[in-house]
Subunit: 285 residues, 4 copies
């Protein structure tokens, strides 16, 4: 919809919270002849951390901006900052198992430009999604478990590490990852869990939701951490259900919630709109 040349430069900053930070950063940008298009900011009471995301018109004087940001950083060692150029297209890897709805939804959105990124590979422990990846001309890598779980985990980790990906999306990848993988990809690996966490952590959430007789079902997209289904939540959505809904109905309706929850989380991440404070996220929307 928009041409790339009109897209803004994104600056993110996080630091120990103190008064006057927004004013200071605004001054830096003004000093580099930058025109601010949008500001999102948050002071997190629990962690005492300040974060902001600023969209700037792309004709800003970059060398000046960078030198002034470095100056600011020297004066306050707690400051961490990033520049994201409008032309940088992030690379993503998608992992999946047998269920295809999240995978095909992501690939479709990327194909029509709704999500701006390049899929460098689809990887799976099951053969099922091969055709779907092929439909979108994405290389598919099959890493089955066979009779050796640990070997599969090693090859999977190796695949990610050599993938050149900036982000890994677990689109209903149904294997628990070794904690080393979780740590290596901290803040860069998004999972979709098919329940409104923290309800129904772990396996078979729809079955357990049906048995508990809940009146709503949902999905949660979160960053992966070593503890199962316990990482920082990015997006959660739910819908009402009734006694008329069988377990199959929950699975079908849940699939629709999962796909839109996951794709929204991926979009927010790709646009640098998510900042993690402790185990919670701030969304600059």
């Amino acid at each position: 919809m928009e041409s790339k040349s009109n897209k803004p430069l994104v600056v993110t900053v996080r630091s120990k919270d103190r008064g006057g930070l927004v004013a200071d950063i605004s001054k830096v940008i003004a000093g580099a002849k930058g025109n601010i298009l949008d500001v999102g900011q948050h002071s997190d009471v629990e962690t005492g951390i300040f974060g902001c995301r600023i969209e700037v018109e792309p004709d800003i004087n970059r060398p000046k901006l960078i030198s002034k940001m470095k100056l600011m950083e020297e004066g306050d060692k707690s400051i961490q900052w990033n520049l994201y150029e409008p032309g940088e297209i992030p690379k993503i890897v998608i992992a999946c198992s047998t269920t295809q709805h999240c995978l095909i939804d992501l690939l479709s959105r990327i194909a029509i430009g709704e999500l701006e990124c390049e899929v460098v590979g689809v990887v799976s422990d099951r053969i099922d999604c091969d055709e779907t990846a092929g439909r979108f001309n994405i290389p598919f890598t099959y890493i089955p478990v066979g009779d050796n779980r640990e070997s599969q985990e090693e090859r999977f980790a190796e695949f990610l590490n050599t993938s050149n990906g900036d982000l890994v999306v677990l689109a209903r990848y149904m294997r628990i990852l070794p904690s080393t993988v979780c740590e290596d990809w901290s803040g860069k690996m998004i999972n979709i869990h098919h329940s409104f966490l923290p309800a129904f952590v772990g396996a078979n959430p729809y079955r357990r939701a049906h048995e508990r007789g809940v009146k709503l079902i949902g999905a949660t997209a979160h960053y992966v951490t070593a503890e199962l289904d316990a990482g920082p939540i990015i997006v959660q959505e739910v819908e009402g259900v009734s006694h008329r809904d069988s377990l199959d109905d929950l699975v079908r309706r849940g699939a629709d919630i999962e796909r839109r929850t996951l794709s929204e989380a991926v979009r927010l991440h790709l646009e640098h709109r998510v900042m993690v404070f402790g185990n919670r996220t701030c969304i600059f929307d």
Copy 2:
């Protein structure tokens, strides 16, 4: 809105599921010259139980209806049935502690006729709600804990048992009830829990929701059973929240979800629209 004389007679039936039940019941009603206004029915796959709720015009021949229902019952011992006359006004007891929003909401809706019932008493372990009960001319009974928890529980149970109430509503009553009370009032005691169960069972759900960084909060109205916050769910509602919401914001916004979730559950119960199958409810709406 409607005059009482136009209100329907409600017939509920539950039995072991078998073919032709609706046809059989319809025939009984037709035989008593009854005109069916509305039918809700459900065959529960898990328990193998059939349930239905039928609204009939009130000019039906009652003796004939009753004798034919008894005949049906003799032919199938699994059948349980009830007639609810339009003129019967249920009596309810409301229990609360310090928080008043659910109490005042229920009393307001009853005062303007939105919920058709008579409140025979408000009971509390805290003195705070005295004035609110008085505003609606409802007797307030104060049963404090003092230095003897067990004595309080006994007097509370005694109060309910002598209250003449058909239904007990726990409108943010913050004490855990002895299991004998839960059993005595099985299917006749509704609690509001301030989370989307089964997430955040027990104390301080908003604090834990805030700490977990969830992106939605909710409330659950359920029948009370001996296991804490584990009874059959009647109504659940949620709303989205964000990192901008402090714990105080969650509490404030949650209060609004709680009041409408609880009042809706009470309405459904009073209109005989809830049927319990195992630990799940069917809502004839």
Copy 3:
């Protein structure tokens, strides 16, 4: 998820409303040794019409069922009924213009079996969607307007009439159809309109929503009639928006609402769950 052989036979019946209809139909099915799996029924007060949708196990005696339904029909000329065999795969045509999100979402869901139908063609007044259709190996027919609107309309109508399609889905096809086409495809043509009708009938609903400062946006899937955006509504969904949302944000967020609203409407239609009473629909869900 389910194998085809387990799928039920669907029987739909509509007729003038009278007592005992469900009992009569149940008896017919029992007489053909059919086992009822699910019943949805509705008595429409405004039109005085009764409708029902019944799922029956597929091993029912069909000749007996058909002869008994015909008998019933002879006794009550207002009765209209249909049998839908589990093996009948409906054929659909999808029409679109420049916007691709609804098209690719439908094709994706059909490709992975979420929607059970066969797409016999994609037709468009614009060339944009050619690649997307090709990705799913669907023939694409380009019928541009050029300098003759009427000729385009004729060729478009001709295409539909010779398409062998059972259903036409207007997936953001941005042209107004001649009333003859609307009549020919009455009850068999679904459109997605990008607003919560009856708000913002016609062109540019997001722009007008933004200007009016509404706090929610939505989408409406409806059967097409000769009057613009005024046909029977099948599904409507909305989401909250805020002053932070620009017009581009509304368009982006609306796209997500549109795709799920349209695909849900198509699913309901394909499963014979929609019945039209006057200008309103009943959904047997």
Copy 4:
């Protein structure tokens, strides 16, 4: 919940949009030894107006703050600003007709401190709400139409003008107001309309919603302007409905949407969280 002494001072500023405004205002507050607790800001693209709402700890040096704000105002004539002291309790007037659910909900929330304001009077063209006002010890003024519509309008306007109210809430007041009243109370009079505007402007929205067969109903709280139901929207909410819902069901379910939509709009206004830009609102939440 919070003691008054902890409540913040609220500063609102609006002006022509230009760079550096937030920085300038932050400096003014820092100069008066004020500690900023929360900042909401919006640059409205359509009108070119900037607005912000800042919460400051109440121990700020007020004379210094005021003198510096005046200085800023002199340098930029487009600046308009307000200070709201935590101790200032706004006064409100509530107007209603026969329907009581919005009135009793507002009075209940005010009685338990959820909405912080003082109700100086309830006024009505109908006698019905007398008892409800009395329950909360609020003076009730009855201004019937009788045989002279214009005289009623004059007395109603006179009542408002002499009421000492800061805000008028039309809680289902079913009369159209003369445009002079709308202008006198511009930005200080909130109405609840029982539809999701701009759908179903004017009378009988539920009936028309039922006839149109919509799949959702809603309510809209907005500032009153001379054009009927066309003023700036503050809050809108909707809920799904189905063919099972009769007109009476829509009315009942709508009542619940109306009350929470209206009370939320009143809360936002009382906390100075609403700013009007043209015919749209910005909500600092």
